[in-house]
Every structure is written in C-alpha cells, then in structure tokens.
C-alpha cells in the first residue's frame, strides 16, 4: 500500500513539479543539459527512496536539492577519473540556498525569457519554449507542427548551444530592456496559441494542448508582471478560447462569427478577459494585443452581429492602426466599416486598403472584398474575388468555405436571372 501511494505521489510530482524543478535547476546548475541530467537523477532517486522512506513534505525542494547533489556528486567522481576540472570545484563549492516556493514561478519566468530571447531564431524560440517550459517532448512538438522530429530536435540543440556560447543570461530582463524582451516572449506565446487555434489539420488533441499551454504561459507572465500588453494577450487568447467550440462544425468546416451559436460561448472566460482588459486600460498604455482584445470583447458582449457596436470596433481599429499600421489591421478596419456604414462604404475601404499594398496575396482580403460585392449584388465581381481567394489558400476548411460561397453565389445569381 505504501508502495502504491509513493508511486502515485511520484506520478503527481512528475506532472506538477517537473517543469518547476527543471526551471530552478537550470539556474542552479548553470545550463540546460546539466539541469536535465539533474532532473532525471532526482526522479530516479525519488523512485527508489520515496517508497522506502516516505514522500517528502515538499517534493519540489526535495527534488531540486537531490538532483543538484546527485549531479555534482557524479561530476566529482568523473573529475577524479579525468583529472580535476577547475570550474567544477567552483560550482560544487558554492551552495546556493534552495529557493522558497514563492520563487518557483520566478524561475519559470526566467526560463520563458531565456527561451524567447531575440538572439534565437523565431522557430527555435517556439520549439524551445514548448519543450523546456511546456514540458512537451520533441516528438509531440513535431506532431503538432507536422514537422519531422529531427528537424525540431536540431532546432532545440542549436538554440541551447547558442544560449551557452553567447552566455545568454538566465534572468528576467531589467526594466529598460523589458518592453522589447516581453514583446518577443508574448509573440512566441501568441504564435503557439495561433498554431493550436487556426490550423485545421493534424491531430486535434495536440492542437488543443497548444492552446491550453499558451494560455498557461500567458497566465504565468501576467501573475508576475503587471504589464498592459501581457494582460491584453491573455485576454485576447481567453476570448478566442471562449468561442472555440462554436467556430467549427461537426464536419470540420468554419462557422462565421455571424452564424456562431453565441449561447455556447464560455461566459466565464469572457468575464475573466473583460476584467483583464479593464485593468490594463487603466494603465493608459494601449498596445496591439490590448486593442485586439478590446475588439474581441466588443464582439463577445454583443447578442448578435446586427447588435454589435461596430462604431466602437471601428474606433478601436483606428487606434490600433496608429500603434500597428499594418495592412491586415487596415483590412479588418475596412470590414468593420462595411458593417457600420454598409457594403458600399466597406468595399471602398477595402479597395483603399488594397491600394496601400501588402494584401494582394492575402486570401482574406479577397474574400472580404467578395462579401461586400455579394451584398451589393455584384455577382460577377464577387465570383472573381472568391476565386482569387480560393487560389490563395490551401487550408482545407477555408477552401470548403469559399467553395460553398461560390456555389451559393451561383444559386443566388441564377434566381436573379430567372
């Protein structure tokens, strides 16, 4: 019975503590590889000792100190065999105090900032964050990104080598550096979320795991840093997540916002997001994530598309365009103008956005244009635009949606002609 309890405690500890223990060990051991070795040794020792001696009161502290001790002990033995290593003596000599539980999250935050360091390639940041902070295996990351495992493994190996060779510090950046470093970390978190949210290919379970992990990371950052953009990103992800069950039908096809069953939106998540947005707006610092979250919140509050406060959405996009003058934001604003002022104004706005450049190869620009043309009764022009959109996307659900729109258009057009 004792053995069974200990085994259960060990499994629970692995699930709940391994990530925190690793994050602390990276700081104490001064590197990823040594920390991974130490983590492994700690759990191997726990498997041996917990059934015999009982489960420690604080598994985290036990695992950290055991892993550290066992690894340094093994290094000592190796050093004796291979001739003394000078740096080892220094490391073994210093005995940093094992941190109290309230510092555990600090270590995880350090780890996020190190894994998302701008010196690393964007792909490497994502893979490293998912493995080291998220606890996913290389093979799981590869499955989620539909990439061969060796490709992901190599990214991780190279990123770790770069962290070591360039001595990227393991710390939460100082105030002056924070905005740029936070931007990189938030971007990684949002990319992970989007990968889970938008892709309609691949094993769906893994996709949902990516979203859940991105939200967990978002919460972690928010708990430790009261930064407006971090709050905005978390709110934005929660608002997307609240609508997730209603955005794809049983056949895997996309359901437009106007057709989603709003009764199924998760009101708890929406309320949490609204609280975060209000708190962030009070700081008077409006970044792109916060403004996008505010737009999503207006949608979430509306009982239907018709009853949506489109004037407020256009106003939010106006501010967003000043902070982030990108073609995609201009397109979103134009689509909102179409809802506020009607399809003629919308089409003019979309054409103006297209004229600014950068949207010619973006399928959603042509599909938004087609929608306005359809609503204006310009069937032939709408057909050309839908077809252009279809040429530009390979995503199966998007393609099925566009095909359906074309078929629908043919039906409507035929009726008009008759």
């Amino acid at each position: 019975m004792i053995t069974g309890d200990a085994r259960h405690a060990l499994e629970v500890a692995y699930r709940t503590e391994a990530r925190h223990v690793l994050a602390t060990l990276i700081r104490l051991m001064g590197g990823f590889d040594a920390a991974e070795e130490a983590l492994h040794e700690a759990f191997a020792a726990a498997a041996e000792q917990w059934p015999r001696d009982g489960v420690p009161v604080n598994p985290y502290s036990w695992l950290v100190s055991t892993g550290r001790f066992k690894t340094i002990d093994r290094w000592r033995r190796q050093a004796r065999l291979a001739g003394a290593l000078p740096e080892l003596a220094a490391l073994a000599g210093t005995a940093p105090e094992i941190t109290m539980p309230e510092d555990i999250q600090d270590d995880e935050l350090r780890l996020i900032f190190t894994c998302c360091h701008p010196a690393l390639a964007p792909d490497a940041r994502i893979a490293l964050t998912l493995r080291e902070v998220g606890g996913l295996t290389t093979e799981e990351i590869a499955r989620a990104y539909l990439a061969p495992a060796p490709t992901i493994a190599q990214r991780i190996v190279r990123a770790k080598a770069k962290i070591r060779d360039e001595a990227i510090p393991y710390e939460v950046p100082a105030r002056a550096e924070l905005p740029a470093r936070l931007e990189s970390a938030l971007q990684v978190i949002y990319l992970i979320f989007n990968e889970g949210y938008t892709a309609t290919q691949g094993p769906s379970l893994m996709r949902e795991d990516l979203c859940a992990e991105a939200i967990r990371l978002g919460r972690l950052v928010v708990e430790l840093l009261d930064e407006s953009e971090a709050l905005g990103l978390l709110a934005l992800m929660l608002l997307h997540e609240a609508r997730r069950p209603t955005r794809i039908d049983a056949a895997g096809d996309l359901i437009l916002l106007e057709n989603q069953n709003r009764a199924l939106w998760d009101r708890g998540l929406i309320a949490e997001a609204q609280g975060l947005i209000e708190h962030a707006l009070a700081s008077r610092r409006f970044g792109p994530y916060l403004l996008q979250a505010a737009v999503a919140a207006v949608h979430a509050e509306a009982p239907s598309v018709g009853e949506t406060d489109w004037a407020q959405i256009v106003a939010l996009y106006d501010v967003l365009l000043r902070v982030d003058p990108s073609a995609v934001v201009a397109l979103n604003r134009a689509a909102a103008v179409g809802m506020r002022d009607g399809p003629a104004a919308g089409l003019a706005s979309i054409d103006a956005a297209l004229k600014q450049g950068g949207l010619d190869d973006y399928h959603l620009a042509h599909s938004a244009r087609a929608d306005m043309q359809r609503r204006l009764g310009l069937a032939e022009a709408a057909r050309v635009s839908y077809q252009r959109a279809l040429e530009l996307t390979r995503q199966p659900a998007e393609r099925r949606f566009l095909q359906a729109r074309l078929t629908q258009l043919d039906a409507e057009f035929a009726t008009v002609r008759n």
């Binding site: 590889d33 991974e36 070795e37 492994h40 040794e41 191997a44 498997a47 093994r74 190796q78 065999l81 291979a82 493995r131 295996t137 290389t138 093979e139 799981e140 495992a149 060796p150 992901i152 493994a153 991780i156 190996v157």
Partner: protein, 121 residues
C-alpha cells in the same frame, strides 16, 4: 521511448594506442555504468572488427554467405547502445556523452513504434 545509439568509428583511429583513443576506450565502461545507474540503459554491446563478420543473403531461395562487409567507408559500425529516453533531445544528449562520439559519430535512431502505421515509400 527507446532509441538505438549506433556508434561508428574508424578502427585505425580507435586502436592505434594514441592517448585520445585510449581515453575513449577507458571511459566507455564507466559511461555505460552511469547510464545503468540513471535508468537510461537498456543494453550495450560492442561489435568486433568487420574482418570477423560474415554477410548472408538469400536470392531465389538460395543462400550465399561471404566473408566480411569490406565496404569502402573507413567508419564501421562498432557498437550499439540501446537507451530509454524521454524524447529525441534527451536521447541526443545521452548519445553526446558516449565517449566514442569524440572519435567517430553516433547515430540516434528511435525504435519502431508498432502502434503507428508502417511507412509507405
């Protein structure tokens, strides 16, 4: 998951009594012991030189056997370490500790998971 670490090296470099080669040969057994202690080890075997080998094949129901592989390459498959690791990156880290990696190279191959469909090429 289980991974095979296939160790390749040039026997001319491994058995020439150089200090480097001697160190690799001396460190190999302790590293295996370490992997056993840490729970990563499944099995480790060293292979004799290709001169001791026979190559067998069956064509049209007839077996033929020839001596040695005697391939052009200087690097030979000299050892196999079968390990248990959390993922490919952990397997790579463990393979990087194999002393022969300093002399030749180690190929890390995941073992086939029979719950997955067979590859179609």
């Amino acid at each position: 998951m289980r991974y095979a670490c296939l160790i390749y090296f040039d026997p001319q470099k491994a058995f020439n009594q150089s200090p480097e080669a001697e160190a690799v040969l001396r460190d190999s057994e302790p590293y295996n012991a370490e992997l056993t202690a840490s729970g990563h080890m499944v099995a480790a075997h060293a292979l004799t030189l290709p001169q001791a080998a026979m190559t067998v094949q069956v064509r049209d129901g007839k077996m033929s056997a020839t001596d040695g592989p005697f391939m052009e390459t200087k690097e030979m498959l000299g050892g196999i370490v079968l390990i248990e690791a959390r993922d490919l990156n952990e397997a790579v880290r463990i393979a990087g500790g194999i002393p022969f990696a300093r002399l030749g190279f180690v190929e890390v191959r995941p073992l086939v998971d029979y719950s997955q469909p067979r590859p179609t090429l």
